[in-house]
Amino acid sequence: MVTASISLRGAGRAFGATRALADVDLDLKPGVTGLLGPNGAGKTTLLRLLATALPPTQGQVSVLEMDPQVPAERTSIRRQLGYQPQEIGFPRGFTAFAFVDYIALLKEWTQPAARHAEVRRVLDLVGLSDLGAKRVRAMSGGQRRRIALAQALLGSPPVLILDEPTTGVDPEQRVTLRTVLAEIARTSIVVLSTHQTEDVAALCERVIVLDRGRVRYDGPVTDLTGQAAGRVWLADEPDPNASVSWRTGTGRYRNVGTRVRDDAEQVEPSLEDAYLLLRAGSAENEPAAEVAS
């Protein structure tokens, strides 16, 4: 069996004079890869390149061994791709079922019985099987995100690109979605961007941290977390020399990056600690570039 893959070589994207993404080299295989980064880091641009919604202005992108610049190959890629954009609108008057059914039609599910069964399957996967007949505009933000995810899951595609799939979704549903995505990732490439480091820690084997359009870290989640080992402390006071410091729910301060007092208590780092440490390092070492979203 040929393993699905995506590769980027020196890939970048500029919008006019603004460079949103630059010199990205990546190889992606089946599994869940998380994208982390601040707003404007280039996460959405990278996902749009992978989803064939946008061509690169620099370098090469290859999806499933095909070149999205070639129209016939681009269509072939799209047959094997599920994409949940960051922002998605729903035509007025559509129900959840009608919307997913509409996208299924565009994905060439022409046989009604098979299409309807597939629409029900994906709505069931995202926990909306009982709300198929409900109008989308009457649904909550979290439910709409799940509809957007459902349309991406149509046909169990080998490549799944998800832009902030868990934003606005309640904790129970997030756990359910993690389980669903983990199962899909056994055979599919799943790339998701998120601001929720706990989602990345719970779901992803690999994490890519983007900052100002460039890859700052690419590797196992555990390795990134390990970079903060011995550098996270709980203390009664904030440390002015710490890279990041904040007051926790217990009233103590979590200081990341340095030890301030003898009575400070060293604690296990989380992925969030490591991410913030990495970000702090980037901010100190790198000048700001002319990068947008």
Partner: protein
């Protein structure tokens, strides 16, 4: 018990699940109370596919019924799935279409009752209605689900052309019908300008957004008709034979430009 039982044909339809929703419900109701008929059903089928029955029931609840426009497209010969893809465009739904129809009807009414500006109003409105509806049927700003649509394998160009043809098929007969009530010697002379404007919008939308192109064409047309009304006292000169030849040339030239530049349509623009 009434003494009534499922007859052979009804039983066969029930077993084969080809009965109507009402007949199926009636049969279910009877079977609940009638052991002999249940035995006949058992004898007629090894296993009733309960999943299929359940799917049919859910279809009745969840699958949206086709709109009148979608049914018309199916009658016109478009396959069911493509009829739905065309009909879901916002241009063919609800308030927008009602508004366009109302404007057109008022213009026709004004012309028909001999209002001083009635004919001018009809001539100003009728030819631009099709191009405005075409533009709104595929303008990205009126399509909230554009991003997921964009990355599906269905060809965007085919969808645009299907929607354009659907608009013409819907709008032209309607306006033609209204034209019958217009007191002029050339009640259908605006037809060629209408087709020409649609072609101009298709061609122009390889440079600018379709809606912007349609609005520009509409304003230009309004200006020409208004100028003729002011100078010659009647706008019908724009519909004379020489002008008609001009509209035909514009239509052909615009469509050729559209074909040559089709990959530069706004929806496809990222990949040009």
């Amino acid at each position: 018990m009434t003494g009534w039982h499922l007859d052979g044909a009804m039983l066969r339809r029930y077993v084969e699940q080809t009965d109507s929703l009402a007949e199926g419900a009636s049969a279910e109701q009877h079977l609940l109370a009638c052991a002999p008929c249940r035995a006949r059903v058992n004898a007629a089928v090894d296993v009733i596919d309960l999943a299929a029955v359940w799917h049919r029931t859910r279809d009745a609840v969840e699958v949206p019924p086709p709109s009148v426009f979608e049914r018309l497209l199916r009658v016109a010969g478009l396959p069911g799935h493509e009829a739905r893809l065309v009909a879901v465009a916002s241009a063919f739904r609800g308030v927008w279409l009602t508004g366009v129809a109302a404007v057109l009807a008022f213009a026709a009414l004004a012309a028909a009752v001999g209002h001083a500006r009635g004919l001018w109003l009809f001539l100003a409105v009728a030819p631009v209605v099709p191009c405005l509806v075409v533009a709104s049927s595929y303008d990205p700003r009126l399509d909230p689900a554009l991003e997921p649509e964009l990355v599906t394998p269905y060809p965007a160009l085919r969808l645009i052309l299907l929607r354009t043809i659907a608009v013409l098929a819907l709008a032209l007969p309607t306006v033609l019908l209204l034209g019958l009530f217009i007191p002029t010697e050339e009640p259908f002379a605006w037809l060629l300008p209408a087709v020409g404007f649609v072609a101009v919008v298709l061609a122009a939308s390889t440079w600018v957004s379709p809606l912007r192109a349609a609005i520009a064409v509409s304003l230009a047309w309004l200006g020409v008709v208004g100028l003729l009304e002011a100078r010659a006292g009647s706008p019908v000169a724009v519909l004379q034979a020489r002008a008609q030849a001009g509209f035909l040339a514009v239509a052909v030239a615009s469509f050729l430009i559209f074909l040559l530049r089709r990959r530069r349509l706004r929806q496809l623009r990222p990949w040009r």
